[in-house]
Amino acid sequence: MSTEQKEKPAYGMKDYKAADPRWCTGCGDYTILVGMRKFFSNAQLPPHKLVNISGIGCSGRMPHYLETYGLHGVHGRAVPLAMGVALTRPDLKVFIHSGDGDSISIGGNHLLHGIHKNFNCVYLMYDNQIYGLTKNQSSPTTRQGLPTMSQPAGTYIEPINPVKFALGLGATFIATTAEWMNKHLVDTLEKAYAHQGFSFIHIAQRCPKFNPAAWDFQNNEWITFMEHENGIAADPRISKGAKIIQHDPSNKNGAFEAAEEVPNIFGLFYQEKKETYCNLVQKNTKNTAQKDPNKILDAFQL
């Protein structure tokens, strides 16, 4: 093999492309799909070693469009499926794709325990602040006052703050990004992938169909980027006009304070080294003296 050939990446972005997506025109999910493929190709991850797992929703279709192994599960319960993979096949790399409703409405308990168990995976919460696939109902992140099909007089209550939620549970990696911040998104994926544990990424996602006014694309003044030498750099294309602050991702109390600005603040909130649950369980088996399976009944003999 010539050196030129060697330099050509073994896996191009095209190698991760599967079926044609069926999302609406202008849907932010397309951008995330591209970001995923870009990241996979940057990191040269062998497709057969990747498992993309999802719940139900527009976002839940992601695995179908990635030429890797994929498991499109039931609504809100991608985390338990992913846990099964992480526990038994640590050689595989797990990515979870889940909408705001899927993550925090029906799926809240699994997300909670996924974060707490801190198993190794990258979790992408696609937050379009609405139920897309079921056509426009309020989700736990819908902004107060927005009229939807289920709360036509305006969504009753303030949204849940996903970052504070994750912080309260002791998450070991929490970052926020937006699908239209292409570089920031890929950088965030890279950082999350490098983290050993449950890497929670909150992604602001456009739903032009049902929630077109969720974000303002005319200016970036409402945007704050958090930067730090251990964090994620502001997106070069978006940072014009945006505020940039410094935040040390090892400072948990500071993260809690900064999280007050979610969903208008982007970057790495928190990162901490902590052994994963799966490692501990696997170790427990590895460190136990193995017995002869031929003698399994002997202890019960009379």
């Binding site: 599967a18 079926a19 062998p46 497709p47 057969h48 070693k49 498992v51 797992i53 695995p63 179908h64 030429e67 890797t68 192994y69 994929g70 498991l71 499109h72 599960g73 039931v74 319960r77 985390v79 338990p80 499926l81 992913a82 846990m83 099964g84 993979v85 526990l87 038994t88 096949r89 050689d91 595989l92 308990n109 699994h110 909670l112 325990h113 369980v281 696997q282 427990n284 088996t285 136990t288 003296a289 193995q290 017995k291 399976p293 031929n294 399994i296 009944l297 019960f300 003999q301 009379l302």
Partner: protein, 606 residues
Amino acid sequence: MTKKNMTRLELLMDAGNGAQKAGDILIKGFAKKGHYVFIEPLIPAEISPPKRTPHSLSGAVIRVGEDELTNIGSYTDFVLVEHEILLKKRLSDKEFSKDCIIFIDMAESKRFSDDFEEVIAEAEAEGYKVIRFNMHEDALATIKALNGNGKNMYYLGMMTKLFEMQPEEIETVIRATFRKLSEDKLNQNIGIFKLGYDGFAEVYQENISIPERKIEGDKVLLDGNTAMALGIIDAGIKLFSGYPITPASTIMHNLAKLFPQYGGMIHQAEDEISAIGTAIGSYFVGVPSVTATSGPGLSLKQEFIGLATGTEVPCIIIDVQRAGPSTGLPTRTEQSDLYSAIYGAHGDNATVVLSVSNVEDCFYAPHVARYLTEKLRVPVFILSDYLTSVSYRILDKMPLALLQDKDVTEIPEYILKRFDLKPLPENIEMVKDNQSKPGEEGGTRRVTGLNTDEAGQVIYTSESDHRAHQVRNNKVYAVEDAMLEPEKFGDESGELLIVSWGSCRGVLQESITKAKDAGYSVGGLNLKIVYPIPTKHLKNIFSKYKKVVTIEVGYGHERKPAQLAGLLRMQTLVDVESAISNATGRPIKPIQVLEMIESKCQGVPA
């Protein structure tokens, strides 16, 4: 000295006083004499409810005999009970033989003499012989010194004498059981035991002797859930994913200790939904897994069960049935989750349901479940029940299959045969052609609960929907085609055929033998696989009897057949009646079956 080749005794104490421990020691004593035992613990639904309340009843029912025992039998001949409230509670179950002897500890009668006498009178009115006894003063003193512990040792001593066992042998078992106690405490306990042994002669002069036998071959003492845990390991399953619930929990407890010693892992999930999800995730990446639960947990798992069918990911669900509906009676037995297993998930699902009739079945069911779920890629259930899960039996040590790291098609045929099954055809058509495992290069694929075509693409056409349904159901028909004639007892044709499943098999077997002895023209049939059912075989067999009935521990009525009866009616169109359908949470007694036979055969032996 009275010779008996079989008898039943029970020890009834307040929860936390060690009735079950004493029972365990006693049966080990019986085992040393070559007797067979079947022991059913009585467990309160609360942890340690206040003493001297009916809720506090905790105990062990022990059937012991010269020959192998398949069930707990009908009636108790000897009762040893701590106080009158427990006796009253247990009297209400109506499980004492007509000349039952009840030994009642009068220790608490000083404060509650009227209550004692009232209950004793009630028992005597039923015709039972009640023998009052008082523990030896020295024993009482030691018990006091031990903070109230040790009473069970006194009772154990009494039983040791009643059944003519060598106290030295029992002492050895006590020492082994309490090896973690200090030497001092151990000796105090043994002291109490001896006082009970010695004092019994004053209480009762008869002794019971069961013919001794030389023990042939290796024997093991196992309960259903322990056997299930061991079977999971031997079947080559690598992950147990569950959530605690009575009576399934002890499978998890056993595996928590054992599995790591054999390369396996257990995962305690946040709930039952998550537990099965993780089992499915594991099987998706090719690692055999299992989840176990009881009624309420089964209800929660339905959505994921449907996903396993749709995605064609293997999945094994153990359901240890308890008395329902809803929370019901968590420490009583029932067989009424059958429909929930077959029909619980929405839409047209394809599943296979195994049932277990005894400890050996518990051990081998995981092997068969793994075989079926990996061959067919549909969810496979193992239905056990409270009775089977907690009952101990002495049995021949089972041969192992050692399926660890083996392909599941290497399952020995004797195991399939045990479940009335022969090997499935080599090729089973799948909805999706590509079934590669994550990690396999070039095999990348996606699975989904949405409808797909053979290429695995999401599609909503009429043909693909129809095809997918047909392919899934064909898998179940393949099982039906591989089913052998089910196990039968008694006459091959005649007046009456009695059908059972699960834990009723033992009762059926014993009842048929007795009914045959009494001259009735009756046959028995037990189903191990309860879905699908071997319709062709059954139609043929049913046609040979005038009447077909089922015995089931679950509600049935002439307007609503019990669950197996309903299924048999639907598939065979034979007027199968649910002749015994206990919705009492208690096992069916052989005597009930005999009485039923008598009434169905118009009281006239053939």
